[in-house]
Amino acid sequence: MRLVIPLAITFTAGMIMILNFFVPHQPFKFLGENLQEWYMIVASGAIFLGVMNLMHVHTRKIRLKRKNWKYSPVTIIGFLLMLVTGLIYGVAESKPFDYLFMNMVAPMGATMFSLLAFFVASAAFRAFRASNWRATLLLTSAFLVMLGQVPIGAMIWDKIPLAKVWLMSIPNTAGQRAVMIGAAMGVVSTSLRMIFGIERSWLGGAD
């Protein structure tokens, strides 16, 4: 029974969603739409689990003075500050919650995003080495694309921007589509394995 019930639920829900895609007739349309709404409700309700876990982990860290416990009060204060301002004043524009979000949270996110510029440069410096013919080809392509992206590329030779456009739209697109087709095959295979109960490791080892 421990195996049968979850497998039956998985099979039923999976078949409903597949049939919902191909059959517009009721009740599949109704069931498909409602299953998706139910999932969103469950996921929204599950946020409380995450919040409880967050508070539990960090308060325990503070109480037991574990390694790096000094960062935990920052997390808890930040969480409570946003929660209290949102509950008391609301989340509308020009309220304290909105002020904190626009002036603290958003800039911090932008700061993290800006790190990408430096990380791309360091990763490119490591990756673009002419150690074999494949790496040399990669290096040449990257060089052409970067030159084609800036005005000086066209000043050096007016065909460089065209080469960049060709590289991005033909070989690059072909490669990306190949990856996507392979991934789509994997998605279908994995989904069918789970729906038909062939893949059971997600049940937590109850093979």
Binding site: F22, M112, L116, F119, A127, M180, G182, T190
Partner: protein, 400 residues
């Protein structure tokens, strides 16, 4: 006195005359407009039909507007049905279509469009009728249904072959073969293993595949005695990960080593999660990092930080835009379908290996289809039978 009276009478007559002149002579422009007034245009060619490929309860109306005449202020859609005649909606002038979704299947409804001007009905179209009904299949998706059924059939065939004990060859996937080495390295160095399951929720198939691999990694870390840290970006993923890791530890007989606090929720925010995970990497200095699941812009931030702490990194995602970053920054990368093959590869179960072979066979079928399609589309401009083949293939793989 006599002069004053005459002057007063003169003034009165002058004022009266001026007043009469204003009220009796209409402005020339009003007379001109009245003479040039045009008839208000009506809707023509009204067609009513059952809305295609739906669950019923819907009628689609299309029409055109006459071109000679003055535009109406608005249009009204009148419906005649079992409840009698009613105005069901008012539309702005210039509208040429409308879908009525307040009807019952199997009942005939008649429609006509009226043109309003100055608040009154000035023109009316002819009547059109339709009976709404529900359809059983989306005709534009039949091609996809055929392809999906073929794929499922091929996968099930190879699964059955695997069950019967047929030897199935799977090429080596370097990233998966290195999982044991990575966990062993962490054990030798006395450092934890960090597992990052991506930033999407459990409704994403990559996250599900990641959870499957997490179960196997959890068993390995339990066997070797290493700590396993799993920071998650979603509450549901946290709950699933806790159960998967716990079961993994129980399966190898180490339930005492399971620590629930090692699987923690950080935040739903993309870069907040990246910052939190980077902090864990820098403070805990894991010896092995697994980045398996759906990633977006934060992928390189995580991978580069992991590299900076000296960890061996095994990454896997089906996001084509993030794979190059992982290839550049990580030691091993599972590209696209290799992430979904991980479960079968690590377990070596015949049923799962059979599904991998079926997946490969389906891919071969698509490769042949692409070559045939490209050749047909290229030569089809010069030879019409091939053009028909190209058109057929295009309709087969198009989803409406």
């Amino acid at each position: 006195m006599k002069n004053l009276s005459a002057f007063m009478i003169f003034l009165l007559l002058f004022a009266a005359g001026a007043t009469l002149a204003d009220s009796t002579d209409p402005p020339e422009s009003v007379v001109t407009e009245a003479a040039e007034e045009l008839e208000v245009i009506s809707a023509v060619g009204l067609e009513a039909s059952d809305t295609e490929e739906d669950a019923g309860g819907s009628v689609s109306l299309t029409w055109q507007m006459e071109t000679v005449g003055s535009d109406p202020d608005s249009l009204g859609v009148i419906r005649s049905g079992p409840e009698g005649e009613e105005l069901i909606t008012t539309l702005p002038e210039g509208t040429v279509m409308y879908t009525d979704q307040t009807v019952d299947n199997g009942t005939e409804y008649s429609y006509w469009i009226v043109s309003y001007s100055g608040g009154y009905v000035q023109a009316s179209s002819e009547v059109a009728a339709a009976i709404p009904s529900a359809q059983w299949i989306y005709r534009g998706r039949i091609g996809m249904l055929i392809i999906l059924s073929l794929m499922a059939g091929v996968i099930i065939y190879f699964i059955e072959s695997g069950k019967k004990g047929k030897e199935l060859f799977i090429r080596e996937i370097a990233g998966l073969a290195a999982v044991d080495d990575a966990v062993g390295r962490a054990t030798e160095m006395g450092k934890p293993v960090l597992y990052i399951p991506g930033i999407m929720d459990m409704d994403d198939i990559q996250t599900i595949a990641s959870m499957v691999i997490l179960g196997r990694v959890a068993r390995k870390t339990a066997e070797y005695g290493s700590a396993l840290l799993v920071p998650t970006s979603r509450s549901v993923v946290m709950s699933v990960a806790q159960e998967v890791v716990k079961e993994g530890y129980i399966q190898v007989g180490r339930p005492d080593a399971y620590n629930k606090e090692n699987i923690q929720y950080l935040t739903d925010d993309q870069f907040g999660y990246a910052a939190g995970v980077d902090g864990i990497m820098v403070r805990e200095k894991p010896a092995a990092i697994f980045l398996l699941g759906t990633f977006y812009a934060e992928s390189l931030i995580l991978a580069e930080t992991g590299r900076s702490v000296g960890a061996i990194q095994i990454a896997g995602t089906a996001m084509p835009s993030q794979i190059p970053f992982f290839v550049a920054a990580c030691d091993y990368t599972l590209i696209g379908e290799e992430l979904f093959a991980a479960s079968a590869y690590l377990s070596r179960e015949p049923k799962l290996l059979g599904s991998l072979k079926g997946q490969d066979a389906a891919k071969l079928f698509f490769m042949i289809l692409i070559v045939v399609g490209v050749v047909s589309a290229t030569i089809g401009d010069f030879w019409s039978p091939l053009k028909s083949v190209a058109e057929f293939l295009r309709r087969l793989v198009t989803v409406n």
